[in-house]
Symmetry: C2
Subunit: 281 residues, 2 copies
């Protein structure tokens, strides 16, 4: 099979990797500048480090992305808008490329090497600057007409209890608008990392995240839900979210999914891209 190349394409850096799995992965970081310069640097590193033995490359990209065209679409980084990232990498390396969203790559990586090993129905959520989700159902990444946008589900918001209008420029008080890092900072006028673990911010945060998760449970029935991203560094949230999900579903759903942290940490994205590369063959 040779070895595989991986690119986690982010807004500030590209993490590139080479290997066959979690144990032999070698990575490097390339700053995200212009599309042509960034892709040329990534392609050069992948070519050189692999000694020309690459079998396929996987790309997990920031978005929103067009999965059919393999490009990023409406990013505020105008130079990247509609840039054919998958095509540029395929042309540069002359190997098959599989392209997907960063969160879809992450769920695939966790299902292959991380906390969701052997789980056919699982969900990866990242709660940070934004909220995103990737799902594997029946062993396959959920795509569809386009890709899911799980951060933008609408949930109950009691404005009497929490008058904050929400941070999402599109929807105001969708899940991301109420529970992302910027929403926490906007509501409490303090970054989440500066709020103590017993601050009332976290009970509210857990409730909103649990409303989102309850909806994903009712819609997808996952066996396992992994929650990562900067906000989840508040480790007390896991137990609070589990309790709130149980309270919200009120015994109607008999079996609830496990909810816990991902395992691959900062390597989730690039290992996910490596898993994409393996599945490209």
């Amino acid at each position: 099979m040779g070895i595989f190349g991986a690119i986690e394409a982010g807004g500030t850096k590209f993490v590139c990797g080479i290997g066959t799995g979690r144990d032999d992965l070698v990575t490097t970081h390339i700053p995200t500048t212009s599309p042509d310069a960034t892709v040329a640097a990534a392609v050069a590193w992948l070519r050189e480090r692999s000694g020309g033995r690459l079998s396929a490359v996987g790309i997990g990209s920031f978005g929103p992305v067009d999965l059919i065209r393999g490009s990023i679409t409406s990013t505020p980084k105008t130079a990247w808008r509609n840039y054919d990232l998958a095509g540029a990498v395929a042309k540069g390396l002359n190997v098959p490329v599989r392209f997907d969203t960063d969160v879809n790559a992450a769920v695939l990586g966790e299902a292959r090497w991380g906390a969701a090993r052997g789980v056919s129905n699982c969900l990866y959520l990242t709660i940070g600057t934004g909220i995103g989700g990737g799902a594997i159902i029946g062993g396959q990444i959920v795509h569809g007409l386009t890709h899911p946008e799980m951060g933008h589900v609408r949930i109950p918001h009691d404005a009497a209890d929490d008058p904050y209008a929400g941070a999402c420029p599109y929807h105001g008080d969708c899940l991301e608008g109420l529970a992302s890092g910027p929403a926490i900072e906007g509501r409490w006028k303090t970054p989440g990392c500066d709020l103590p673990a017993d601050h009332p911010a976290w009970a509210l945060e857990a409730r909103y995240l649990a409303f989102g998760i309850a909806n994903f449970v009712c819609t997808l029935s996952p066996e396992k839900i992994l929650m990562g991203g900067g906000v989840m560094r508040q480790g007390q949230l896991y137990e609070m979210v589990r309790g709130e999900v149980e309270r919200i579903l009120a015994g109607y759903v008999e079996r609830l999914p496990e909810i816990g942290p991902p395992e691959l940490g900062e390597f989730a994205g690039v290992l996910g891209a490596l898993a994409l590369a393996r599945s490209a063959l």
Copy 2:
């Protein structure tokens, strides 16, 4: 391949069918009484009408169901609780049986012979006494830890605008609690079928259904959504729901799914069960 048997197991009747598809389906109705008597009658009819040539049987059942055990679980019809319906049919006819929820059968039937022909990612919603949904993603019915319970997603509910507390005994104002037939009657003190097409009930109904659908779009990204059930006999709702979904998603999701009625009408359930039977082999 021979011919296939189908059972749509409902709380008041079992619809049984024999055939290979939509064009040659022959059906009968058996009243739902005790499990043993009902299954014996269904088995006898299937055996006799098939001349013993059945290849497999599919069952789409009322629920909630245990998909692993093939039984109905917590129904108020106590005699049916934990009854091994799939096992009893398999034993009676000595053929493979595939068992699923009624809504999962319905989406499979619509995908094979109805309004979602050739669509790999679709959703079937029924809005009536309850609200239920079945999804096909990547050509496969979505199962998971158990089966989805799409009627029970939580959505925004502005109590100042609509003080009705919701009809769901578990969750109060979940989607089913706000938008099922009983919720319409509870809120307006009039059955929905007696409310004129320009009554404000329908704008509110469309908004709630659209909140649910917007969440399904963000989570599953279906290409097509079919809405059936008694409430959708108010045909004006389709256009109203489409408009509200567009308004709620506010341009963030670039491509929206088609939303329309199912095609198989009263035969959706039994044809879905027939499709299950075909997939059992």
